[in-house]
């Protein structure tokens, strides 16, 4: 039994990377400013000194080239872990991710796998305006061939990477930027993460709240307030954005008969829309109330704090939606 350890989300990510480098000589890190600078969000700090510049590779600002290089290296036997500094920058590598990584196994008739992990910082809340704040993970969740993960809690930040590296397919891990400073204790009982399943983080009976990433933290806060009001919310950490663990979602909705979906991405064409539609298709007769979505407002994320806060899902929005379903006016 391991001792209880207090740790930040950032440190959990860093330990996961260090474990990977120590345990498998085929792994190496590649990305912008991950080495000498220590990582834009300081996740990779110290790893260059420990592992050297062959295995911790600072790249030029060439997202397409270094993501493509990760794909090629993965195809010939390496296990690259590529960092893309923000999800907005990942658009510069979209060709490689969508047209190569996601297609080659199928297009080659199964001759080649692409066992590549890409870590991407995502999400808003840091007052850095539109081009560093978006939540585009839902776009990637549209693409067959990719596995999309969103660790929200410390245990997942610590152990999802190892599971992703065992996956023979390209895995994109979205780390929400507001989570890096979160601090808490790792559960000593957890040493691995099932990257096929969503996870109930708080059991409840009146309403299911499906959330991921920083939305999960807000949903858990909302659940506290709802409990004080006599409403029992079940909080589900989606955590695997593709392929969706629909069974866990449907089981919860069958129990609570009401559902709120929280998604920092824009509502139109969102991951929340996909989840809602699956529940409508497969769980319609379990529902006692309409489905509700709390999504990012349909604007480029603005800089001014009051505007940014208004653009992002907040606990108060989740509370109001849940209460409205359980106690309709």
């Amino acid at each position: 039994m391991n001792a209880v350890v207090t740790i930040t989300y950032r440190e959990a990510c860093r330990q996961a990377l260090r474990d990977a480098l120590l345990s498998d000589p085929r792994t190496f890190l590649m990305g912008e400013d991950i080495g000498r600078y220590g990582g834009c969000y300081a996740v990779t700090k110290g790893l260059l000194d420990e592992f050297g510049d062959e295995r911790v590779r600072d790249t030029p600002l060439s997202e397409s080239a270094f993501v493509g290089a990760g794909i090629g290296a993965a195809m010939v036997g390496m296990r690259p872990i590529v960092e893309i500094m923000t999800v907005n920058f990942s658009l510069l590598a979209l060709d490689q991710i969508v047209n190569n990584a996601a297609t080659i196994p199928h297009m080659s008739g199964g001759q080649f796998a692409v066992p590549l992990v890409i870590r991407i910082a995502t999400g808003g809340g840091r007052r850095v305006a539109a081009q560093h704040s978006h939540s585009l993970e839902g776009w990637y969740a549209h693409i067959p061939g990719l596995r999309i993960l969103a660790p929200a809690v410390l245990d997942d930040a610590r152990y999802m990477l190892a599971a992703a590296l065992k996956d023979p397919n390209p895995v994109l891990i979205f780390e929400h930027v507001m989570l890096y400073n979160n601090e808490g204790e790792l559960d000593p009982a957890v040493t691995e993460v099932d990257i096929h399943r969503a996870k109930v983080r708080r059991a409840g009976t009146d309403v299911s709240v499906i959330a991921y990433g920083n939305g999960l933290i807000k949903a858990l806060a909302a659940a506290e307030a709802l409990a004080a009001d006599g409403i029992s919310a079940e909080i589900i950490d989606l955590r695997v954005l593709r392929p969706l663990d629909t069974a866990t979602l449907l089981a919860s909705v069958a129990k609570t008969r009401r559902c709120v979906i929280v998604d920092e991405g824009w509502k139109s064409g969102s991951l929340a829309a996909e989840i809602g539609m699956r529940i409508a298709e497969e769980g319609f007769f379990d529902l006692d109330a309409p489905l509700r979505r709390i999504c990012g407002r349909e604007v480029p994320i603005p800089y001014a704090p009051h505007l940014e806060d208004a653009a992002l899902p907040q606990p108060a929005d989740i509370i109001a939606a849940a209460r409205g379903l359980v106690r309709p006016a």
Partner: protein, 328 residues
């Protein structure tokens, strides 16, 4: 020291035979396309055969190839069997990619052929990664990355040239400059149409070669590969060539004149090499005829194999979207 090709009888016969195999294979593809047995896009290599044939001569079995969507020639020259190629073109599960890739997406694990790629420039970053992975695993392999003049317009070209040179990776960048990116003429697209000169911007040796001369291509490729294998870092080889046929089967060719095409045809790689060999007594008409007959017989067998092939059950449609394991 530059490796010079020894033009012995066996070798020149082999070069000629490879070009003829490609040319005749594609002629058969046109027939099958017109018969609607091959569907979709069909990009012919007609006129460019000397490039693939010459470059592949410089590669060893352990080397890797990243190809384009005009890659039948690259595939055949690399040694992929015509039978599995033709079956792929016909969408049969006996095809090298089980009929999922078709003409533009030929992959072959045995020959380290990492794909035809239908995104212009999309193969270059991948090739950098193949070379990186090989180098990190201590393989002394070279990755030959084929692309056209159109790819040079793409950001991925510049990013990949820079990264390969910066990291000193064993990549042979092979630009098949056929003067047109679909219908866009080189001089209308490039501020610097001297493509080999661009390599200097990445501290890379750039060499231009007559891509209609198979021996010149082989010589240049051997020299480049030799330097790469000796640890000299990547090289850029611009092969100046010409596509005799339309870009694909849906191209009215409004962007160039018949005269221009005819002028280039007279410089065609097969006609030119063959007549030079005959003139110099290295081969005679009887032997050329035998090469052609053998190639046609091989193609007929490939067509028979493909026609007799089976369709993958629709139940397997989603197989390999995600892999159960990394293939050993």
């Amino acid at each position: 020291m530059t490796a010079r090709v020894h033009l012995g009888h066996d070798h020149v016969r082999h070069l000629l035979r490879q070009m003829i195999r490609i040319r005749h294979f594609e002629s058969k593809c046109v027939e099958l396309y017109q018969a609607q047995k091959i569907l979709g896009f069909l990009h012919l290599y007609d006129g460019e055969e000397a490039v693939s044939v010459g470059v592949m001569e410089a590669l060893a079995a352990d080397d890797a190839v990243v190809a384009t969507y005009r890659e039948h020639g690259q595939a055949i020259a690399r040694g992929i069997g015509m039978d599995v190629l033709m079956a792929e073109m016909l969408g049969k599960q006996e095809g090298c990619c089980r009929g999922r890739g078709g003409s533009m997406h030929i992959f072959d694990r045995k020959t380290r052929f990492y794909g035809g790629n239908a995104i212009v420039g999309g193969g270059l970053p991948l090739a950098v990664g193949v070379a990186l992975g090989d180098k990190m695993q201590g393989r002394n392999a070279v990755t030959a990355c084929f692309f056209g003049d159109g790819a040079v317009d793409e950001g991925e070209f510049h990013e990949s040239m820079n990264l390969a040179s910066l990291w000193h990776l064993p990549v042979l960048f092979v630009c098949e400059n056929n003067l047109y990116a679909m219908g866009m003429a080189l001089e209308r697209a490039e501020a610097e149409p001297g493509l080999a000169r661009k390599a200097a911007g990445y501290r890379m040796t750039g060499t231009g070669v007559d891509g209609m001369d198979v021996v010149a291509v082989e010589n240049a490729a051997r020299s480049a590969v030799e330097q790469i294998r000796a640890g000299g870092g990547p090289q850029f080889l611009e092969c100046r060539t010409y596509r005799f046929r339309a870009h694909s089967m849906f191209d009215a060719q409004l962007y160039r004149t018949r005269d221009e095409v005819e002028t280039w045809r007279r410089k065609g790689p097969i006609a030119r090499f063959q007549s030079w060999l005959v003139q110099n007594g290295l081969i005679d008409a009887v032997e050329v005829h035998r090469i052609e007959t053998e190639a046609d017989a091989e193609i007929d067998r490939a067509v028979d194999f493909a026609e007799a092939g089976t369709l993958e059950p629709v139940e397997e449609l989603e197989r390999f979207v995600t892999m159960e394991a990394v293939p050993a």
